[in-house]
């Protein structure tokens, strides 16, 4: 990796677009913006905020690489994006950058969750992505928070207070949400309903991830990795130790940044 240049990476995701600035082994700044209907605008906004956070003028950027589901949409002339890389590759590179002992990353994002297995150099060995019925776990998380009348941060805290295990249907987020409401109609404690609703997410992630060899260390990325309630259940259902990466939602963007010029 070029240790002299300041490199930028953008991860244009379903829900949020993340931007980071990296120099050598250091993350200089990061920011995110809601992707919404204007992915290119969100990328511009996130990048500018990251530059401001790092106090780096735009002109000093040595390279800009983009990943994420909207990577081809945000490749507008104004952004001067030099390269795009697939999300799996960005996840592997970013996870390895943040934890050099990691060999598997589970990324739980807004719309897609995936697991990536890689070698010590970040070369992909195996990848798996959720099936259609398990799409949108991040969106579901936000919806459940709204349903229960709490913020996303409060939802995790609420679920951690659960004392009794109850369950919701695990077919899809819609069924799970509907049954979380049904639990509350039955007078189930809201903390228990929150825990059941969140355990649904982990059930789906664990079911997907357990189909490939989970070579240690297993690390977790994506916005939902910040939820302690989810991370309480994940090692139990995976039957495997996991650790959450620092800046979990920026792993893809970091992976993109350090892939500039092939990571040389």
């Amino acid at each position: 990796m070029n240790k002299e240049k300041i490199l930028a990476g953008i991860d244009a995701g379903h829900i949020r677009t993340k931007a980071v600035l990296v120099k050598g082994q250091e993350v200089l700044g990061y920011a995110s913006a809601a992707t919404g209907l204007d992915a290119a605008g969100a990328a511009e906004k996130a990048l500018n905020q990251a530059l401001a956070a790092a106090r780096v003028p735009r002109g000093e950027l040595g390279g800009l690489v983009v990943t994420g589901i909207f990577k081809d949409v945000v490749k507008v002339p104004e952004l001067a994006i030099e390269k795009t890389i697939p999300e799996y590759m960005a996840d592997a590179k970013g996870a390895l950058f943040l934890n050099k002992n990691s060999r598997t990353v589970i990324d739980i994002g807004g719309n897609v969750h995936k697991a990536v297995h890689y070698d010590k150099d970040g070369n992909l060995l195996d990848v798996i992505q959720n099936d259609k019925c398990a799409d949108g776990l991040g969106i579901y998380y936000t919806t459940i928070a709204k349903t229960l009348g709490v913020s996303e941060e409060e939802l995790s805290e609420l679920a951690l207070k659960s004392k009794k295990s109850v369950a919701v249907a695990i077919q899809c987020g819609l069924c799970a949400e509907s049954e979380a409401i049904d639990l509350m109609c039955q007078g189930v404690d809201v903390a228990d309903a929150a825990d059941a609703a969140l355990r649904f997410i982990v059930e789906r992630v664990a079911a997907m991830a357990s189909t490939m060899p989970l070579e240690p260390e297993v690390v977790v990325a994506g916005g939902l990795a910040k939820s302690k309630a989810l991370m309480k259940h994940l090692p139990v259902l995976l039957k495997h130790d996991v650790s959450v990466l620092s800046l979990p939602e920026y792993v893809g963007a970091i992976g993109a940044a350090i892939s500039y010029e092939g990571g040389k």
Partner: protein, 390 residues
């Protein structure tokens, strides 16, 4: 206050349905050979004749996603739940797992047990004709049963005599006769047992050693047949569906604001399991078993008369409606089961002709209590409007 004998027996049945693997394990610990079976097309009589206790694998009602990696997402939750129990080792102690080629969802659950749950080499798939209303079906079944018999002889290292099979047929016919008597009590205007308790006893019969079950059910019937019903009669409902093994769903039906009597359960966990007999005293025992199983109320996966497309099951349903006089029918089926809802489409005109309204409930591993309650209460309101409050 001391509990009545009938209550104690029903509690025993309930405890077995709530922990069937615990019961099966206790048989295993007593030195008995125990086989799991995944479909009621498995001729239990042949297993029993071989000295093996058949124990049905049914739902554990645990909401989980781990089976999504093993069988298709859109297979029914019942098959997922059965596969799950193999994967988590609920039945590790079983000597054998069997099923018959019936529905593909349960076939996949069986494959999960064989391929991923340690039952490779301890399994047997019984070939079963896809359509049973054909001339060659009986001889096909006979041949298939003969192969099963040979497999079990090799497995247990002892011959299965015709006398063994005849004894097993008699034990099983006795169970079926007792269960029929139990459900006949529900024909009364004010039955002495709830439909849920009758369903619980029926479910317990699918897990238990039949001789032990028969003794308990005989005692229960002796008491119930002399008993009076409790309280005023309720709205009479019949449930028709697939694997209705969630007693909480049936309990919900009988626990609504309006009093309800669940009077009949047409499902493979109830009437379809026992509403037939195997001819006794025949020279060819396996032909007799084939004849008995062909005469059953067919499962929708097998029910199609070639040439006419007629569904034999519909005649049975009509007969049950005429005998048990339900005022409404609740169709209850596993989500993603295809044959069952198709049958309902064919059944609806028949119900309309009989003047019996119906409603549908879609089962999953979990039970959306309030959604079902709302739907059922609306259905009852249609059947018997409640006098509005002044």
């Amino acid at each position: 206050m001391a509990k009545k004998g009938s209550e104690t027996i029903i509690e025993r049945f309930r405890s077995i349905t709530e922990n069937p693997q615990g019961y099966a394990k206790s048989l295993h610990e007593k030195g008995k050979l125990v086989a799991g079976y995944m479909c009621t097309h498995v001729p239990e009589e042949i297993l029993y004749a071989a000295g093996i206790v058949p124990v049905r694998i049914l739902s554990s009602h645990v909401s989980q996603a781990m089976t999504r990696s093993y069988i298709h997402e859109t297979y029914c939750s019942f098959s997922h739940d059965c596969a799950y129990q193999g994967l988590v080792g609920n039945y590790d102690f079983l000597d054998l797992i069997t099923t018959s080629s019936s529905c593909i969802h349960m076939g996949e659950a069986f494959n999960v047990w064989v391929r991923f749950a340690g039952f490779e080499g301890k399994h047997y798939l019984i070939s079963y004709p896809h359509i049973i209303e054909t001339k060659p079906a009986a001889s096909f079944m006979e041949q298939s049963y003969e192969e099963f018999r040979k497999f079990l002889e090799a497995f247990t290292k002892k011959p299965i005599t015709d006398e063994d099979i005849e004894k097993a047929i008699k034990v099983y016919n006795h169970t079926r006769g007792l269960l029929k008597r139990l459900w006949q009590l529900l024909r009364r205007e004010n039955p002495p047992i709830t439909g849920t308790d009758a369903a619980t006893a029926t479910l317990a019969s699918q897990f238990m050693d039949k001789q032990e079950f028969n003794k308990l059910l005989e005692k229960l019937l002796k008491e119930l047949e002399a008993a009076q019903g409790k309280g005023a009669p309720g709205v009479r409902l019949m449930v028709s569906g697939g694997a209705c093994d969630d007693m909480a769903a049936l309990n919900l039906i009988e626990d609504l604001d309006q009093k309800v009597n669940l009077v009949f359960l047409d499902s493979c966990t109830a009437a379809r399991y026992f509403w037939f007999e195997i001819p006794e005293g025949r020279a060819d025992k396996l032909a007799a078993i084939a004849e008995g199983y062909i005469s059953r109320i067919p499962c929708p996966t097998k029910d199609n008369v070639p040439g006419t497309g007629e569904k034999k099951r519909l005649r049975f349903v009509q007969q049950f409606i005429e005998e048990f006089k339900p005022e409404g029918v609740v169709f209850m089926y596993q989500r993603f089961c295809s044959p069952q809802p198709h049958d309902f489409m064919a059944l609806k005109p028949i119900l309309a002709k009989l003047g019996v309204p119906s409603t549908d409930l879609e089962l999953d591993t979990t039970l959306p209590v309030n959604q079902f309650r709302t739907q059922l209460e609306a259905f009852l309101e249609i059947l018997k409007p409640v006098v509005p409050l002044e």
